[in-house]
Symmetry: C2
Subunit: 421 residues, 2 copies
């Protein structure tokens, strides 16, 4: 058991609440949240918070982890040139070994940013899952069926395999996007969705061109099309959700779907700003993702939370829109629930011990008028003192405990990378 | 003398260039930038960069440092409520002691973000200057004449005093804004500008309402009005510059004025996005500021650089707009030149030793396809390994060397703050 004491704890069960309670973990779960007790068990470790804050961790609800291999490789290009001339040709050369090593770098970055789970859509998922398991990181893999995959049956095999292996890994059905997937394969996916009564995710309405293209191809928006095919019959949601019609928003609200916003990526690729306030007002569930580091380029939930709130104030012309608590809940609680990790969504007895410690002794956190607002409006990676996943400390005081030295991980990754450049 | 070796150095004299050169400092200046030499002087310290990057430091070209006292105190409010009901009543209670302590917190935050100089407009400048001098931080104070000051003659006294004291402190003429300053006082300021043949700065075209109000009051935009009064006859510029007419842009370009953009503050207060690309295309000089922590709330140049480039891509609809190098130059070189610190604008022999070391061994900097893009698109405070001002290391590996322990500084500041709450 591990004890966090002499500090503060943020919980969500009653709004965003901060108390002076202690937190105890026992194995992979949280065992106790409450005031100091005179009778205490023997702890394997007692962590003096020195006034710092234990809080629910961030969940990255949309990413392509191994795309670290293209970070800062081809920025400042028009979207189409970037994708077709730079990204696709490089991706064709990816090996499982490179996916593994580049995922390790992404995991390290997630840990520095207080992210304890990712919802990842990419390729070579065995290598990807191994990198997560070996590091002790939690991930949910999203299927990425599209017209370029050899065998659509792989999706079902992956679904079964990754939902019955390591407790750190699970799998949710998905296609890459409407614009990369023909009707036949979408219908095939709908059969799987119905067979397993399972939620479904995909890139949805990221760019104006995508929505216009879908209208030309199918006479409907991506959301209306996917819904008409029954893909959203058991929940799920969409990544990006920038260009949403009123009908799309209505479908998302009625079906309890999740809109995962990726503000940094959408700005940098000039895609637009997702209507987060409009979605929230309609009752749509919301979560936040970083997208991959080829487009963002940081895997940093502090950046994303800040952008969510600041961009909505800009978009609505109302400085009161989208208050800080909303982004915190999206990043911690919404992210968890969106990707089937409802047992990682708060700090409470019985929940999984996925949590972070925020260093309040850095100048950007002072004074302490409002700690939640400090985190959203002024927080940064420098404030992440500790990141715990499934009861294990994987990152603390700038050091990683993921089985491997950073220098060695970079060296191996960059050696493999050089071979394909 | 201090030697930085075994790493990389970024310089601006020939575009944004990165070499394997060493950097030597001697007292307050840079003494040598070049390859390793067999004959070396005796150094007081030799810093093994272990592959890390020495680069010119960031300059914060618009801020209100002591506003740390209102960080996260009253966010998520409409602009007018925030300013009139929260900020102004609290500012009326500020004491010199509180200005001093709150400035110390801001300086600490600047150091964590690689910022080595600030262009600060606020009040009680003796206390403010003392906090900078005592910390070893470099600052340029901007005059803030307005209709609520008791005695406009103070501006001239301050101008003379702060330009002849500590080499860390200088002073530039300014008014708070057109909307807080009557014509009489603007004309008085213009006399000072002409007497000293000095540049002039002010808040300029931050909000649409400000520009519309100025049109109603004076039948002109703020820029046209200020220029017609001769205030821009010896250079200077404006803070924010969000709502600029073509004529305004033309005046800025012709007169060599500086537009200081504050993207985070402008988003959060729903003021808009400054047309940085349009200004650049017209040949206007550009720099970046954080604004105060009541409105931002972070004092973080990584956030601002990212926003500058990402928001321009969004605004122009062109992912190729505003490349990363542009933001780097604005933050390091533009900022220095805008505020009269041309001798702090690069790493070259004879320049002031205001520099930073970027930690390239953090996961957000890997791989090293393009270090400059990594810094702008993925960099964060975690990457600032060392901050040097005037040849002195004030921050290194998370520790401050500013004459005082962080805990003690927070404690004193927050005790004083409590007395006015």
């Amino acid at each position: 058991m591990i004890r966090f004491y002499n500090g503060r704890v943020m919980t969500f069960s009653d709004g965003v609440k901060i108390s002076g309670d202690e937190v105890w973990t026992d194995g992979e779960r949280i065992a106790y949240v409450g005031p100091e007790k005179p009778d205490r068990p023997a702890f394997e470790r007692e962590i003096d918070l020195r006034g710092d804050l234990v809080m629910p961790s961030f969940k990255n609800a949309h990413t392509h982890s191994a795309m670290t291999f293209l970070r800062s490789y081809a920025d400042d290009l028009p979207l189409n040139d970037w994708l077709c001339q730079q990204v696709f040709p490089m991706e064709a050369k990816l090996t499982p070994e490179l996916i593994y090593e580049m995922t390790r770098i992404a995991i390290m970055e997630y840990l520095t940013s207080g992210i304890t789970a990712s919802f990842d859509m990419y390729m070579k998922n065995d290598a990807y899952a191994a990198a997560n398991i070996d590091s002790g990181f939690r991930t949910v893999i999203c299927g990425a069926l599209n017209d370029f995959d050899a065998d659509p049956e792989d999706i079902e095999r992956e679904y079964l395999k990754f939902n019955s292996g390591s407790p750190l890994v699970s799998y949710i059905l998905g296609i890459h996007a409407e614009y990369t997937t023909g009707l036949d394969r979408m219908k095939f996916m709908s059969e799987l969705v119905h067979k397993y009564r399972a939620p479904f995710f995909t890139h949805n309405s990221e760019t104006k061109a995508e929505v216009e293209g879908c209208a030309a191809r199918h006479g409907a928006t991506p959301t209306v099309l996917l819904d008409s095919l029954g893909l959203y019959d058991f929940g799920g949601g969409g990544f990006h959700c920038v260009w949403m019609s009123d009908e799309d928003v209505d479908i998302f609200a009625r079906k309890g779907l999740w809109a995962v916003t990726n503000p940094a990526s959408n700005l940098k690729l000039a895609s637009g700003i997702a209507p987060v306030c409009r979605l929230a007002d309609a009752g749509v569930n919301l979560a936040i993702g970083t997208d991959g580091s080829a487009s963002n380029n940081a895997l940093d939930m502090f950046r994303e939370m800040y952008l969510v709130v600041a961009l909505q104030k800009y978009l609505t012309g109302d400085a009161a829109a989208c208050p800080a608590d909303m982004a915190l809940k999206m990043a911690c609680q919404g992210g968890a629930r969106a990707i089937g990790l409802g047992n990682c969504d708060d700090i409470a007895p019985g929940k999984k011990a996925d949590l972070i410690v925020i260093d309040l002794m850095r100048p950007n956190m002072r004074p302490l008028h409002n700690i939640a607002k400090n985190i959203v409006y002024a927080g940064s990676k420098e404030n992440v003192r500790l990141t715990m996943i499934n009861g294990r400390v994987l990152y603390e005081n700038g050091e990683f405990f993921i089985g491997g030295e950073p220098g060695k991980i970079y060296e191996k990754a960059e050696k493999l990378l050089k071979e394909i450049m």
